[in-house]
Each structure stands twice: as structure tokens, then as C-alpha cells.
Amino acid sequence: MILSAIFACVAGMLVIVSRQLNGRLSLSTSPLVSSFWNHVVGFAALTVVGLAVGRLLPAGAGEVPWWVYLGGPLGVVFVASGSWLVARIGAINTALLVVGGQMVSGVAFDLMRSAAPSAWLSGLGVALILAGMALTQKRS
């Protein structure tokens, strides 16, 4: 339990590390080139791990519908966009605005699939996120 908690927290820190590194690379290249290297290097690392663990091609792999494979290409845009943003608005702004967008779209996605655990608390959460975003636009 403690180990899982540490792992989860370190995973969050590594999200920032990854975006900083890709952001730094994008300054010397471009966000898209940086995203390409992120994917190539990640793919190589995961291939090594997969070959060592031996679970790279599971039995159900042949039945995957084609549209499920769109997650990878979307990731290219996601990483490129993160690199572009972190060099302009910094790590904490990028991190929390991306999480805010993820939360609000996630609530909308759950509502479409009619699987909202609590519409009331979700609505309050969305309102707080939108208020925070509005506050960034207030002139000081």
C-alpha cells in the first residue's frame, strides 16, 4: 500500500520530468520532432522490457478494433502540444490546465455514457475548474 502510494506519486513527478525534457528538446528542434523522439525512445524501452517479461503479444491482440489504435497518434499531438506549452507557460500552469481539461472532458464523457457516480459533486468540481481558468484571465 505504501509502495503503491509512492509509485503513484513518483509517476506524477515523472509526468513533469517527461514534459520538461520534451520541452527542452523542442527548443532545439520542434514540438513534433521532440514528440517523435519521445515515442521512438519510449517504444525502444518498452520493447526491451516486453522481451524481458515476455508479454508483448497477448492472445487477444488480433481482435482489437482498428479505431482503438488511434490512441498512439493522438499521443503524438498530446506530447507535441505539451512541449509547446511548457516552454511558454511553465510546468505548473501546463500540468494543472491539462488536468483541468482532462477532468471536465472526462465528466462529459461519463455523462454521455450515463455513468456519472454523482452529478452534483462532478458539477461542483467542473465549476471550480472553470472558475480557476476564468481567474487566469482576470486583469490584475
Binding site: 509526468v15 527542452r24 525502444a44 506530447v79 511553465g90 491539462v98
Partner: protein
């Protein structure tokens, strides 16, 4: 070089782009989660990185054909700047371990968010990994606090309701 961001408000284009990037993440988490259902988290991340590599190559080829050479040379990047993909691959492994433990998805997301906020503040404060240092001002902290509170409410609502 410390950028005092407090005096300026966030560029609306950056605000919208970051928010939309979060929407992209929701779609990715859903699709890669489906992929993991057919196989396992390692398979899902491996395939996503592979198809992503192919997609990035395709995009770069299209862009290169359009713009050609002639852009001014930029200073080269240090070798460590190419290791973002390693960090991302480790993130996938740590997260899939934590999600399948007693802390479950909500605990993993909440603690991951805590890690992001803590290390994100440090990265800005000291300009870690070669990016400019920045000091958020009072209004920035208030805005970020609201977004953090709203996000935690959504992630942990199962524990409140």
C-alpha cells in the same frame, strides 16, 4: 533568468490549447485502456508508442515536403533531452502497478496529481532541465488552487458521496 509571470495574464490561446490537450488525454486514456483490455498495460503502451512513432514520421514527412530546408540552425540539444520517452515508459509501469493495488484508480490519480503539483512547482522555481525559471504570483496560485480543488473533488467523489 526568473520570469515574473504575476504581472501578465495567461495568453487565452495557451489557456484553450492546454484545456484541449487535457481533452485529448481523456480520449487517449479511453483508447489505450481499451487496448489494455484486449492485452495488458505493457502491450497497450508498447502499441501506442509504436503507432505514435509511425504517425509522427508520417506527419514529419508531410511537413518536410511542404517547407523544405532553409530554416535557421538552432543550438543542439543535450543528449539527456532525448530521454523523455524513458520517463514516460516508466510512468506507465508505475501507474499500472498502482491502479491494480488497494489505492485503486482514484488514489493513483490523486497521488499522481500531488506529485505533478509538487514537482511542477519545483521545476518552475529552479528552471529544471533547461527550461526558464518562473515564479507564480498570488493570482496564479489562487487559480491553480481552484483547478486543483475541482480536480480532486471529481477524482475522489466516490469517497465523499
Amino acid at each position: 533568468m526568473t520570469d515574473h509571470a504575476a504581472a501578465r495574464r495567461l495568453n487565452p490561446l495557451h489557456l484553450v490549447a492546454a484545456f484541449a490537450t487535457g481533452g485529448l488525454l481523456t480520449a487517449m486514456v479511453h483508447l489505450n485502456g481499451e487496448l489494455a483490455r484486449y492485452g495488458n498495460p505493457l502491450f497497450s503502451s508498447w502499441v501506442a508508442h509504436g503507432t505514435g512513432t509511425a504517425a509522427a514520421l508520417l506527419l514529419l514527412a508531410l511537413l518536410l515536403r511542404r517547407q523544405g530546408a532553409g530554416a535557421p540552425a538552432k543550438p543542439s540539444a543535450p543528449l539527456w533531452a532525448y530521454l523523455g520517452g524513458i520517463s514516460g515508459a516508466v510512468t506507465v509501469m508505475l501507474t499500472s502497478f498502482a491502479v491494480n493495488s488497494p489505492i485503486a484508480l482514484s488514489g493513483t490519480l490523486a497521488l499522481g496529481l500531488a506529485g505533478q503539483v509538487g514537482f511542477g512547482l519545483a521545476a518552475d522555481r529552479w528552471g529544471l532541465f533547461g527550461l526558464p525559471a518562473r515564479r507564480p504570483g498570488g493570482r496564479d496560485f489562487a487559480a491553480l488552487g481552484l483547478i486543483l480543488a475541482g480536480s480532486l473533488l471529481i477524482i475522489l467523489q466516490g469517497h465523499f458521496a
